[in-house]
């Protein structure tokens, strides 16, 4: 696994793999610190790259969940609510056109 961090290519990783590598890399880095041995540069760089990628994947996942939730809410709206939404949209666009 350390070899994967050394030759890191985040484009090929799935999120669970990235999390696993981050855990292994972080634990290894801690060991270096504990024994007061200088860690290799690629280890810290790799961990940082993985963190960026994990945060990116998490934000993407949240965006997806939000979009899914909005889509599902739409299906529960009554005809009356949908009409009100459409009328509000008409009013908004009319106001913009009059600017």
């Amino acid at each position: 696994m350390l070899d994967q961090i050394r030759n890191l290519d985040v484009d090929r990783l799935q999120l669970p793999e990235a999390l696993e590598l981050h855990a292994v890399g972080s634990a290894t880095l801690e060991s270096f610190k504990r024994f007061e041995v200088d860690p290799p540069g690629w280890l810290a760089n790799g961990i940082e790259t993985l963190e960026v990628e994990i945060r990116r994947a998490r934000r993407d996942m949240l965006s997806k969940k939000l979009a899914d939730a909005n889509a599902r809410v739409e299906t529960y709206k009554s005809q009356k609510q949908k009409r009100m939404d459409a009328e509000a949209e008409i009013a908004r666009i009319t106001a913009l056109l009059q600017e």
Binding site: D60, M61, S63, K64, A67, N70, A71, E74, T75
Partner: protein
């Protein structure tokens, strides 16, 4: 039929995959049903779970129904496997049945039971009918099965009950993008059905998001290029949906070949992700051991050279160990192709042209001299040895040297008379023949056949025989 060789021949026919030509399964299928019915029944079960070629899952069970000696639990297992097909494939089975002998009545009775089973669960029936409307109509009409009242209204009179899945699909076009996306997710509308209902609108982000979540692993691979062009990589939500879908596709055995094609069709990060997915899928189907591929490059062996490249490329992809490709005429020309792609192998071997005499043994002698211990050997040739050393003589020395007997798979192409097989038999050695004489394997056949090779002579056969047969009660739950 001698057990070892006969069963291999059946497997080879199965993996040869003549696309769309069910009748091509008749000769070997009928013979196998008569001579080794138990093996064929287990092979049908194994193929249903592990096979990548859909035609064989439809054709083989039908072929067995036309053989009178294939009876009892074996026959029941064939029927049960047919009952697991989609409506579309079941239509194909019904249309093929007359060619298989007296099989049509059995298939007709099965179709009726299949339709009644689905009618007993309206939501299950509805889902099948939405995804396969035309096939479901054909099944009712062709077998003269009177549909249940609700089925008749929906399929034949197009009257959709309020709140039904049919009504939801019919109204998709009238909803805005977000509303349509929500409906697709809520009602689990199949991808192809939603795509048909939405047309060009499906490129909008909310709809793409919903559709990605409805795609099977195969559909994901097939539509990868379209998704990339639609801007999937620039949208966080679409990226997340795609990555989630790819995680699910990792364990898919069915999508491996499609993933390979998709990876070639895409670029950049998407291509990297697909190649990584391909490797994970391959890991799930890895072939064990080191392999030696001996490719005949003697006079007129163009086909052998082409097939050798494909076989070695497949092994290089799927093999856990090392792969050596040795082209031979009367001298060997060896290459280490471990981990190489087909394109890389093509480039390395572009100057290999057919010429010279034939000494299959010189290829194996190379491996012996280099102490390359192969767990399996594939020989692609017409078998027309006309120069020493003979393969059989070197094989004896090879087995003594490494104290093992690696299985030999003989991919036989047309050409000179085959001396390899009789010499191996005379020396008391087994040879697994894959007969390609007069046949042109397509792009799926060779990887399929190569993946069926095993480093242990009978491990695939053991795997097949251990696959349990099905009973109709396993498939039909309704009374």
């Amino acid at each position: 039929m001698e057990q070892g060789i006969g069963r291999r021949e059946v497997i080879a026919e199965l993996t040869r995959s003549p696309h769309g030509d069910f009748a091509a399964y008749l000769p070997v299928g009928q013979r196998a049903a008569r001579d080794d019915g138990e093996f064929l029944a287990h092979l049908i079960a194994w193929n249903h779970k592990n096979g990548q070629i859909r035609d064989s899952k439809t054709a083989l069970p039908v072929v067995t129904l036309g053989v009178s000696s294939f009876n009892g639990e074996l026959r029941e297992s064939s029927l049960a496997h047919l009952a697991q097909l989609s409506p579309r494939d079941l239509v194909k089975a019904y249309r093929f049945a007359p060619q298989a002998g007296p099989a049509r009545n059995a298939v007709r009775k099965l179709v009726r039971r299949y339709l009644r089973e689905r009618e007993a669960d309206e939501s299950r029936w509805e889902y099948a009918a939405v995804a396969h409307r035309s096939s479901m109509k054909t099944l009712y009409a062709a077998t003269r099965t009177r549909p249940a009242a609700f089925a008749d209204l929906i399929l034949f009179k197009r009257q959709y009950p309020s709140g039904s899945l049919f009504e939801a699909v019919a109204n998709l076009g009238a909803l805005d993008d977000v509303g349509a996306a929500g409906m697709i997710l809520k009602r689990k509308v199949p991808f192809l059905v939603a795509k048909g209902a939405l047309g060009a609108r499906m490129k909008s982000e909310p709809l793409l998001l919903a559709l990605i979540q409805r795609m099977s692993p195969t559909e994901l691979a097939t539509n990868a290029r379209f998704l990339q062009k639609a801007g999937m990589e620039t949208s966080p939500a679409l990226r997340a949906a795609f990555e989630e879908a790819m995680e699910k596709a990792t364990t898919s055995k069915k999508a491996t070949l499609k993933t390979t094609k998709a990876a070639k069709a895409t670029t950049g990060k998407m291509q990297k992700k697909l190649r990584a997915l391909q490797e994970r899928q391959i890991d799930a189907n890895a072939i064990k051991g080191n392999w030696l591929v001996l490719g005949d490059r003697s006079w007129s062996m163009d086909k052998s050279i082409a097939i050798s490249r494909e076989v070695s490329a497949t092994l290089a992809r799927y093999c856990e160990g090392a792969v050596r490709l040795v082209f031979f005429d009367t001298t060997p020309r060896a290459l280490d192709v471990s981990g190489k792609t087909y394109e890389e192998i093509l480039d390395l071997t572009k100057r290999i042209v057919p010429n010279g005499g034939t000494s299959i043994g010189c290829g194996l002698q190379w491996a012996l001299d280099r102490k390359f211990e192969a767990d399996g050997i594939a020989v692609v040739s017409d078998g027309g040895e006309n120069n020493p050393p003979s393969f059989a003589s070197v094989y004896e020395k090879y087995c003594r040297q490494f104290d093992s007997e690696p299985p030999v798979y003989f991919w036989k192409v047309e050409g000179d008379p085959d001396h390899l097989t009789p010499s191996m038999v005379a020396a008391g050695h087994d040879l697994q023949a894959l007969d390609l004489c007069g046949k042109t394997p397509d792009q799926y056949s060779i990887p399929n056949m190569a993946q069926a090779m095993r480093a242990s002579r009978y491990s695939l056969i053991d795997e097949i025989m251990e696959t349990p047969l099905l009973r109709l009660s396993d498939v039909f739950k309704a009374a």
